[in-house]
């Protein structure tokens, strides 16, 4: 990609601001059949936890109007297996790799972070916002005090910059973002999924074994855009925004709201080429509007 889209997230240089979102892109391999991953601004790993997790039982996906509910429950091979089996492949891709880390308690977060100190990841996305695991990160992510607390402890021991991924389900998101910034976070990403519920009226039963699940996709875009704007107004650290982005126009709106980078989630399932089309769309927009770099419209609203 060209200079039109080059974007600095602190001192990390992204070729472009477009990054597939955690959990919607596996560890990238599946999408190599569609395009060269080096075209991406970066990519973000599936949410990892210290121990391997087999995820939630029962139904894991449910479609809603313009949305998708998921209850994957952080199924993942664990940090060790990731470092051994996925990282050697990922590190050779010419793009920024973000490692997404979840945890069930302080200790599991910290041990996971320590293990990641052994690899040369460029950015860690601290997931304190997964609504799908009972003893999970969201407990930290819905209150400014606990969010700040865990962020501080993680920042203290990590040799990598920490971007904290916020939940849309808690108290005022700007307060939480400020607490994370104060605790030393080098970036904020948002939003994780909105907590929702599905009932199968035919079966007279809830759809998900875990009762509630996470809503994502185009349906959530207005909420995600509002929260992105609130957080961009509240903090000085860069923001990586997501939530329902499905084309370059949506991506542009998040950038106009102040986001430095944007992540592409659910729409990957609808259109595997979406990230590439968004990159191309943003570039065409720069050319058409006579922008030297997309950064010229960042935060202009």
């Amino acid at each position: 990609m060209s200079d039109y889209l080059e974007t600095k997230f602190n001192d990390i240089l992204f070729k472009n601001p477009v990054i597939p979102a955690s959990g919607t892109f596996g560890f990238g391999r599946e999408y190599e059949a569609f395009y060269d991953l080096a075209k991406l601004g970066g990519l973000c790993s599936k949410g990892l936890t210290l121990e391997p997790k087999s995820g939630n039982t029962g139904m894991r996906l449910w479609e809603t109007p313009a949305g998708l509910m998921n209850s994957i429950g952080l199924e993942n091979p664990g940090i060790d297996a990731f470092i051994e089996k996925e990282w050697p492949h990922l590190k050779n891709i010419d793009t920024v790799t973000i490692v997404n880390v979840g945890g069930k308690d302080e200790e599991s977060y910290l041990t996971a972070i320590e293990k990641l100190n052994t690899i040369d990841a460029q950015l860690i996305e601290l997931n304190i916002s997964c609504p799908n695991v009972k003893a999970g990160g969201m407990a930290y992510g819905i209150k400014a005090t606990t969010a700040g607390d865990i962020t501080k402890k993680v920042v203290d021991i990590s040799r990598h910059p920490i971007m904290v991924k916020l939940s849309p389900n808690g108290e005022a998101v700007a307060d939480i973002a400020r607490a994370c910034e104060a605790a030393g976070a080098q970036g904020i990403s948002l939003i994780n999924t909105l907590q929702g519920m599905a009932i199968d009226y035919r079966k007279k039963a809830v759809v998900f074994d875990n009762l509630y699940a996470g809503l994502s996709g185009p349906a959530v875009k207005p909420v995600a855009l509002r929260m992105t704007h609130q957080v961009c107004q509240a903090v000085k650290i860069p923001v990586m925004a997501m939530g329902g982005i499905s084309d370059w126009k949506d991506a542009l709106e998040f950038i106009m709201a102040g986001a430095t980078c944007i992540q592409i989630g659910t729409i990957n399932f609808n259109n595997p080429m979406a990230p590439i089309e968004i990159i191309e769309g943003l570039k065409a927009y720069c050319i058409k509007e006579g922008l030297a770099n997309i950064g010229e419209v960042r935060g202009i609203v």
Binding site: G23, T24, F25, G26, E30, Y31, A33, K46, S54, G55, T57, M59, R60, L61, W62, E63, P65, A66, G67, L68, N70, I72, E75, G217, P218, S246, T266, N268, F269, N270, P272
Partner: protein, 233 residues
């Protein structure tokens, strides 16, 4: 994008659609189909019912919004197809016994055709079970050595597996489970599972099923599994 060649109703609520496609396609594989923008949001997995170069056929039942939209496509309309995905059925040597239930018969037709091409001397028997109305039995009858048809009953009640047969079954999970426990242990039994799918390619972990060797993805590691992997037999 693929061009629809034809799309016709073959039985109440059951449609057969043929589209332009050329590539390597194995029986038991599926495609992700869509003919809409974002309502519904996701593509729909549909098995390969038949294939020859330039001509890919699906047989599907209208059960909701996605299949309803598919059923309205007409010749020369565009449909987006991604695939083929999934492992497909294994190459079968020896004799073949297929057991299909309802729309689960869809992938078995291409399996039988393929099997016969690979095993000109092999014998192939087909059991078909339907709740109300049978469809496609004639087509199977034109291929197979024997077709046992059941409407309204329980197909496993009629099932007898002959020595040397490999069994392949696709249909409601309860039927496949019954087949899996009915067939004596010396026969290999393969089942084709269903799951709600988002990506179809192994990226979302939404279609996971528990197997003897841990979680597997129905879309990528399956949809075809050995019975002992997924059923308690």
């Amino acid at each position: 994008m693929a061009l629809v060649q034809s799309n016709t109703c073959v039985s109440p609520g059951i449609y057969k659609m043929t589209v332009d496609f050329t590539g390597a396609v194995k029986p038991g594989q599926f495609f992700m189909l869509r003919a809409w923008d974002k309502d519904p949001l996701l593509s729909r997995p549909i098995s390969v019912h038949n294939y020859e170069p330039g001509k890919l056929t699906f047989l599907y039942q209208v059960v909701g919004k996605g299949t309803e939209i598919l059923s309205q496509l007409q010749s020369n309309d565009d449909v987006t197809i991604q695939g083929p995905y999934g492992n497909g059925f294994p190459e079968i040597t020896g004799d073949l016994c297929v057991v299909g239930g309802g729309i689960g018969t869809a992938p078995l037709y291409y399996l039988v055709r393929h099997y016969q091409k690979q095993n000109p001397a092999g014998k192939c028997r087909v059991y078909l079970g339907f709740r109300d109305i049978a469809y496609g039995a004639d087509a199977f009858a034109a291929l197979a050595d024997e077709v046992v048809l059941d409407v309204g009953g329980i197909i496993t009640h009629k099932l007898t597996v002959l020595p040397g047969e490999t069994v392949v079954t696709c249909g409601p999970e309860i039927m496949m489970a019954a087949v899996a426990s009915a067939v004596p242990a010396e026969h290999a039994v393969y089942v084709s599972l269903e799951a709600h799918m988002a990506c179809g390619i192994g990226a979302c972990l939404g279609c996971t099923c528990e197997t003897r060797s841990g979680n597997k993805k129905v879309c990528k590691d399956g949809p075809v599994f050995g019975r002992e992997e997924v059923f308690n037999v």
